[in-house]
Symmetry: C2
Subunit: 449 residues, 2 copies
């Protein structure tokens, strides 16, 4: 039932636009949902995309545009004059409208707001523009249905009727007092089931979870997930109802967070995408590659101190890959496990010393298993000299221990300083482990050979 975009479909639509065959284009798009048409726009040049928007009715166009991702949208909307933008914004919920206008230059933003016919929406947007993007205030929409605690069910239903045009999805009606302070909520189910003259005060649920406008998007996501909420009211510090956040926006927050983590883990800067320009691609990739390179040069410089040892026993150099690779893998595994427990904020912090003791125990066991296997391989298959085989195995245990420790401690420290701890599973920790690995290995060699 979900639409599957194909190359043939797209070619047909593009051809029809070229030929200005409006009826064919309209007919092709008729059965599609706005989200599907948004996906079609990604595949089109700006001009044919604008052609489609102009062809459709304003309400549908508005939804298509609010579905676009910001990067595409900011370019695309350059084709619209401020009057066109204002017409579309009229149909867009205040939260998305504020996001869209936030992407625009200040002058465009002010003009569009001035041109809005719906003055209530204009006020909503002006209000929302004050909040930071990644906070509850930045995520909330002002559109919601609220009723006074002193009303009856029928007054409440009248209010829903009045607001029905404005609020697309009504999950529950928020109950406020005369000062606008949030008191609770009453579900539509109850409004359907109770008699018209029942007082809201008698049936509302006073046990409602809310967030304050300054709370971070991640906190909101964590709370909505924990309590399985479909929407959450946003209040100010005095408890006054300001807006509401729906779960679809939170799903986007979760996705974005996962993408950011993945990028941090894989050494990409900013929001790298497959179809970025070549320049954007280099900008996202080069910084961490440079850091890795600096680490590599440092390692080279360090190995330079052991030139004589390597000249006498070239086999010493053979095992650098093994030592560094194992160290890197152990470090990344350890930090990944810590990341997981950091993400699960509801868990009480276990004693740090206990945690480290556990980590080191696991490190010793991992290191022992690996170094015994490597020793066996060295003696039986590679026919490595006995002394060198001992050096390699001892260095391996040491490196596994060091990497377990740094892999555990680094994300904890980064998190403490407010840096995304996921970078600790990326090139940063790998590079550090490479240098540490070399150091441990050659020190061991100098002592034992």
């Amino acid at each position: 039932m979900a639409f599957e975009l194909t190359r043939e479909f797209l070619d047909d639509v593009e051809e029809a636009i070229e030929a200005r065959n409006d009826s064919f284009v309209r007919q092709s798009l008729e059965d599609l949902y706005p989200a599907d048409i948004s996906n079609i726009l990604y595949e089109l040049e700006d001009k044919p995309a604008k052609y489609i928007i102009d062809l459709l009715d304003k309400e549908e166009s508005a939804e298509i545009i609010s579905n676009l991702d910001p990067y595409r949208r900011v370019d695309f909307l350059k084709l619209f004059d401020t009057a066109e933008l204002a017409e579309l914004i009229n149909y867009i919920d205040s939260d998305d409208a504020a996001d869209i206008l936030n992407e625009q230059p200040g002058k465009v933003r002010e003009e569009v707001i001035a041109l809005l016919q719906n003055r209530e929406k204009a006020r909503y947007i002006i209000d929302l523009l004050h909040y930071e993007e990644d906070t509850a205030g930045g995520l909330m929409a002002k559109e919601l249905v609220k009723c006074n605690i002193n009303w009856s069910v029928v007054q409440c239903v009248d209010e829903i009727r009045r607001q029905a045009q404005k609020v697309e999805k009504v999950n529950s009606v928020y109950v406020v007092d005369d000062q606008g302070i949030l008191k609770g909520r009453v579900s539509l189910k109850k409004l359907v089931l109770y008699k018209a003259n029942t007082r809201v005060a008698d049936i509302y649920d006073d046990d409602v979870i809310s967030v304050e406008s300054h709370q971070s998007a991640e906190e909101v996501a964590e709370i909505m997930e924990r309590y399985d909420l479909e929407s959450i009211p946003v209040v100010n510090v005095r408890g006054k109802l300001l807006g509401r956040i729906t779960i679809d926006d939170i799903v986007d927050v979760i996705r974005e967070q996962a993408d950011l983590d993945r990028q941090a883990m894989t050494g990409l800067t900013g929001d790298a995408e497959d179809d970025d320009t070549v320049f954007a691609s280099l900008k996202a990739r080069l910084p961490w590659l440079m850091i890795g390179m600096a680490g590599g040069l440092l390692a080279a410089r360090f190995m330079g101190f052991f030139e004589n040892e390597i000249a006498v026993v070239p086999a010493l150099a053979f095992f650098t890959t093994l030592i560094q690779g194992t160290g890197g893998n152990v470090g990344i595994q350890s930090s990944s496990v810590i990341l997981q427990s950091l993400a699960n904020k509801s868990v009480i912090e276990t004693n740090t010393l206990q945690r480290l003791a556990r980590v080191l125990l696991i490190g010793i066991l991992n290191g022992l298993v690996l170094s015994l296997i490597v020793f066996a391989f060295n003696m039986l298959l590679l026919r490595t000299e006995f002394k060198l085989a001992i050096v390699v195995s001892i260095a391996l245990i040491s490196v596994v221990l060091v990497a377990s420790f740094t892999g555990t401690v680094t994300p904890l420290i980064l998190d403490k300083f407010g840096v995304n701890p996921a970078v600790a599973t990326g090139p940063f920790i790998t590079t550090a482990n490479d240098i540490l690995g070399i150091a441990v290995y050659f020190m061991t060699a100098r002592m034992l050979l």
Copy 2:
């Protein structure tokens, strides 16, 4: 307003349980939501946890238990006999009930189902046990409110009243025909706003997105995200309404997928957690460490072929870290970008040749920048011999190209064969790149030195 679990709170509760001070325990937990009490259970031993469950009323206990994660739950429920389990299951929605029973041994499962007082729930559960866990059928709950297309609004409201006890959250009422085929939905908002004698056929929305029971959990997540749905009906191949999936279950699917990807990327097998037993920890970590180790030994064996070169020019060995590290980083970056575009399934596949051409262009540019900088460092700071500096820079460009290519192609191939492509950013691709890097470097050296 969300509850923050503290060590002091927990100590007080544990003490009160020890002292069998029921009134204190009850009072401490009174204001908490079931999800918060679930989090408290994670921090307690099994016996005090069971004590809490026995103390609370059955409906709340049931919700606390369905909130627990499966690993903890399966152990904890061993303390319950089948009669106790059946009593709890009576209060749990069919989707969670089927999950809980699926975790139990077959004998327990059958006994509990036989003991269920609510025979409708028993039928629901038996039905749900047939579906694969990671499909729409495995995610859906049977509890939903449906009405016949020929009914009036008042008949519909009566049906909601009848089902109100059973279905906790009612977002919309599904509309079916006499054969139970899904025809559409009618929102509670409409039922509130239209007159009692209005026919459902006149006001229902026939344009409803559904999924078939065999579709994968990821497909369902993608569809619900794309169309911003709070719940989605599940039908069989003939369009008969079977159940519904709510967004909170999909949020869990998204989280789990992100966790699985992270684990694959960081070389952990299975669901590794910070507080695993030491044995579970080793089991999760050792497999990929062994693969990395095998790669390291292979690299050592390969470098053995170049023992004479290294003996003559030990400096040759200094740059293995640089070459391998850069290759590893480039490979991981490239596969991460491809992962991102694979996750975004709604995008039409771009021409593979075009994509590879772009990737190689970016690789050449990255490689050129890095190798020029390295060359400058080698000549000016490290005072590397000219010929060796040339070898290092040429090998660096080659390795960046090779890693860009394998980093791009590997996740595409893995995805084609149904393997989670995220493993391509993990130890697998790093190990492959280490060996390739060594090979490219020493071949270049043999040719040019």
